[in-house]
Symmetry: C3
Subunit: 467 residues, 3 copies
Amino acid sequence: MLNAHRYFDASEPIRSIAYDLYQHIKDFPILSPHGHVDPKILAENQPFPDPAELIIIPDHYIYRLLYSQGISLESLGIPARDGTKVEKNHRKIWRIFANNFYLFAGTPTGVWLSHTFSEVLGIEEKLSGKNANKIYDQISEKLQSPEFLPRSLFQKFNIEVLTTTDGASDSLIYHQKIKKSEWTGQMIPCFRPDAVIDISQPDWKKDIKALEKAAGISISSFKSFLSALENRREFFKSMGAVSTDQGIQSPYTHDLSPTEIEAIFQRALKQKPTKEDARMFTAHMLMEMARMSVEDGLVMQIHPGALRNHNQFIYNRFGKDKGCDIPVRTEYTRNLYELLNKFGNESRFSLVVFTLDESTYSRELAPLAGHYPAMKLGASWWFHDSIEGMMRFRQQVTETASIYNTVGFTDDTRAFLSIPARHDLSRRIDANYLARLVTRHIIDLEDAQKMIRELSYGLAKRTYNLY
Amino acid sequence: MLNAHRYFDASEPIRSIAYDLYQHIKDFPILSPHGHVDPKILAENQPFPDPAELIIIPDHYIYRLLYSQGISLESLGIPARDGTKVEKNHRKIWRIFANNFYLFAGTPTGVWLSHTFSEVLGIEEKLSGKNANKIYDQISEKLQSPEFLPRSLFQKFNIEVLTTTDGASDSLIYHQKIKKSEWTGQMIPCFRPDAVIDISQPDWKKDIKALEKAAGISISSFKSFLSALENRREFFKSMGAVSTDQGIQSPYTHDLSPTEIEAIFQRALKQKPTKEDARMFTAHMLMEMARMSVEDGLVMQIHPGALRNHNQFIYNRFGKDKGCDIPVRTEYTRNLYELLNKFGNESRFSLVVFTLDESTYSRELAPLAGHYPAMKLGASWWFHDSIEGMMRFRQQVTETASIYNTVGFTDDTRAFLSIPARHDLSRRIDANYLARLVTRHIIDLEDAQKMIRELSYGLAKRTYNLY
Amino acid sequence: MLNAHRYFDASEPIRSIAYDLYQHIKDFPILSPHGHVDPKILAENQPFPDPAELIIIPDHYIYRLLYSQGISLESLGIPARDGTKVEKNHRKIWRIFANNFYLFAGTPTGVWLSHTFSEVLGIEEKLSGKNANKIYDQISEKLQSPEFLPRSLFQKFNIEVLTTTDGASDSLIYHQKIKKSEWTGQMIPCFRPDAVIDISQPDWKKDIKALEKAAGISISSFKSFLSALENRREFFKSMGAVSTDQGIQSPYTHDLSPTEIEAIFQRALKQKPTKEDARMFTAHMLMEMARMSVEDGLVMQIHPGALRNHNQFIYNRFGKDKGCDIPVRTEYTRNLYELLNKFGNESRFSLVVFTLDESTYSRELAPLAGHYPAMKLGASWWFHDSIEGMMRFRQQVTETASIYNTVGFTDDTRAFLSIPARHDLSRRIDANYLARLVTRHIIDLEDAQKMIRELSYGLAKRTYNLY
């Protein structure tokens, strides 16, 4: 069903050159240095439930678009936290999806789904209202066979490393379980302490308690808070972690004096801190996290620029991560000034910066990454992790930063089945990008072959120390 | 003179596929759900005056560019409101235009003009200083023939619906005249109350008086102001209106308390309101207009982001809409927060949002429209209503919002003769966009055929309820 | 080594048409109306030193990228001002460069270098660690021959005019030397008074003293400051200058009252002025510089939007212009409001505006330049002076401003040897841009031929009065 030359430019010689470059690396193992797959899946290795539960209900890319067309989340079985009843008949949910599958034409979700259906699940027809039931049955049957157990798929997908994202107090119980098992697949955690760094979030004090417990350190001062974090980083490292991550609205970085930061921390512990307190605390914590990375060698990632839970109605009923986070304009040149001046010249430090604001690619991010030894650019992300989005990233970043200040592809996905689709797409788009350069004699074939190896494997391997 | 494959990519198979897709829909009727044609033209159905009066003098796209090259507006016959004498010899004006026609190479105005000359007026040469007089005569002659009367052209252009834009107090006399005539062409008004919503504009009190009179309601409080607007919306609906429109600098939306909004309204009635008053009044009125749309079903359009009358010299001498409105950066994620949280989950409400700030396509607008059921994206607009501009719109919007959260093409023109050119261009660019996707196997031909029908007809028909 | 069709789209007929258009103008003389070549080079006409000294050490494009990959500036021989020892073995520097030459694949620096190596220096292999020594020797030998003396290259490069950039107090001694010599090459200065306009820069008072001396005018008031500047402009004009230039962070323009500007000037003379003083002084000086240009006919250029010396460690050790200036978001519509309202309607005034913020191309700059007679758009600049960058400029600017409100190519380079590479690249990209339009029947061949002549020669000649 899928064309071997898909996603390449149709015109020759681009298509042939892209295809050759792609052939060169298409079977390289998958490095996934950042993502959101639930570690439980691989720790327990149980059969996946039915098609709706596997494909629709956990994927906000899918139901976001269905919702935008007036299909309620209740009818799609998205669990409500306010007691609202939601659809329990998963075949019915599947039929709604199938009837509206045409909506995904021209979207990356459509591309990933077509790969998942065809290459992973062996479905040979385009999903529609007519064949919805038949395909539901076909997938259901597949999911019961041993080849579709999570670990079998992990191996079939040729995943070399899969990174999860885990809170500061997480016990990493599933990572431990795997370590103790005979299974040799490499699944590693990533340290993401957002919940304890954002002092404005409602559960902050509860999360500090959890951190105290996890670290075995009583947290009564900013200093003890830092010690607890350092303790947890050490634990994550012992469990294989190579990186940290932070989701923040603004990448503003600023060092506060010990007195100032302590005062904010105490206000947060004792009463409701102000908005400005929260902003300054995050700014200071970015500095501290960078300092710790310089010390312990964990790669520091930042994912800024989303205004979370824009739709309060959806948030109140269904909770967070429901497809209603919306990007805002993001500034890097001034915001990263302090951090880069303090740590940016350290070659042993790696700061991987992502963005949701494409206007910063050529204006701010490529110039910064093309100068500071520590700074690298994360792949095009979230709304921009698409055919056009990846091409814009390469076209707007490479000329100033070169490919060597980027870090390879990050799938950033919750959808385990879509991992090969996402890496395959990225490899094809990079091959196509390079083929365009070759046909225009901007680079030669030798350059292109080296570069496609770097983009699909080498850069991620080296940046994230995946050895 | 015009090539049948114009505006498609030259490389095969894109060109052939684009051409086939275009053939599929090129004769579809024109739906024009937003524009600025003077309704008098079709109500009175008089012959168009001479070529300069028809083509140059009313079109700020044309004289803006001539002016930028040092050609005075006086010499182009643009009427002055300060008593300045302007050129009255229209043949002379035409010659200036012809001598400088080369300036339009590569601009959408150039493309529209070549269509108008060749397809509408049957001119077979490229306009230049040499053939200026001859072509002036050819056009002048044509304009006297019955086939060039406005209603004949309306029919020849295959216009199914033509929407005008009308002030809140407009009597819609020309719409009434047409309703009463035996002519069956569908021309409908759109309710645009900018003059009474912008309390900072110098004629506001005069415009409130006019609204009082039109609605037959005495306006002494904010509440009676709302009643008058509701009354006028009802009247517009009775005259066929399906939509409202608002031209605003910032799309900031905010609900004020009854006391606050009343206080601002009274300040506006009694004295000069502050800039902040005007800003808050508009923010609140966007909420009220949305509320009314939820109630009466009129589609709500907003056109934000132009700093009007940037050139005060031109404004003082020639008035508004003279090609000196300049876009400013525009923010949507935070500005539309209140409106979308209050009304964005209503599927029976349609909010069509336009922009002059292309950096918001992928960052803010597509994510918002790809989530909220009520929000849809208007076509690429004004400075971006061009070959490259339309392609950027599709490439930056579709992957996140899909084509189904866009609303089809809006010509937004004052230039009646250019309507077929504009729709033809849009259809060609959409066909080319889809053909690119087909050749890269991102969508298949079946998808593309459905999508081109939607883009050129279906989406506008459904969004604007044009039945 | 270099392909004759390089940088053109591979697909026919674009490639052939681009090639034909390029052939048409490739031998046109080079007009370089803005750049940073050291005038001493041509005044003294001494052999260039070794390859590292010629190619690497003065070019921050090159060592910026090497530095970003962890290679210290000390090891590249960049002179330190703090006494730090730097590498003196230039062959060793060259080897580091050669070993890392692969980093430049896909960057404009890579493209310029390949031209310089192949077309200027006659090197027939791709530089690498293996052939580093051999190529070092080949270039060294060449540099000793008479054909590689600066003036011989000037002639070989077919440069008609080369513009340098010079401070307000510069004696233009090298320009004088050339004037007095029998050499007829045209090298002209450009008046760039940044040092005396930025009252916040540490050496401002010293620079005012230098201005006093150069102008022979005692500067005790703002009025005498203006007189001194006017005096220097006159002197620059007498030395052939046709333009001024200003590097500023924000293009904010604002007229202060005589009392206000005098007060700021006195504060600057007597004590440390505030940040706001500096901002307002620059805003006012942009108005004064425009006024002077209206009076004396010098073209006014502005280069806004760089945050200079972002990396303080590098700045402290190596000084300015070391590859660590980073762009910031820039606003034009509101910032240029006062200047354009006061002088923008003057056709005898030319204001050439550059940008580092590509998001302003279609949103602000093209609409402004497509309306105001005085305003023109400088070529894509610095980080955007690249294959993709130049194409984005044309695609985002032409439809609204037409090519006729742009000013042709500016190389803006310090690297004398790269001048032909840069102009050749620009001509190829413009030819390719036009060829795309021709194959899509947006323009015809006749238009394209006229336009390529304008883009590569005519526009610069007329805008900068290079007669």
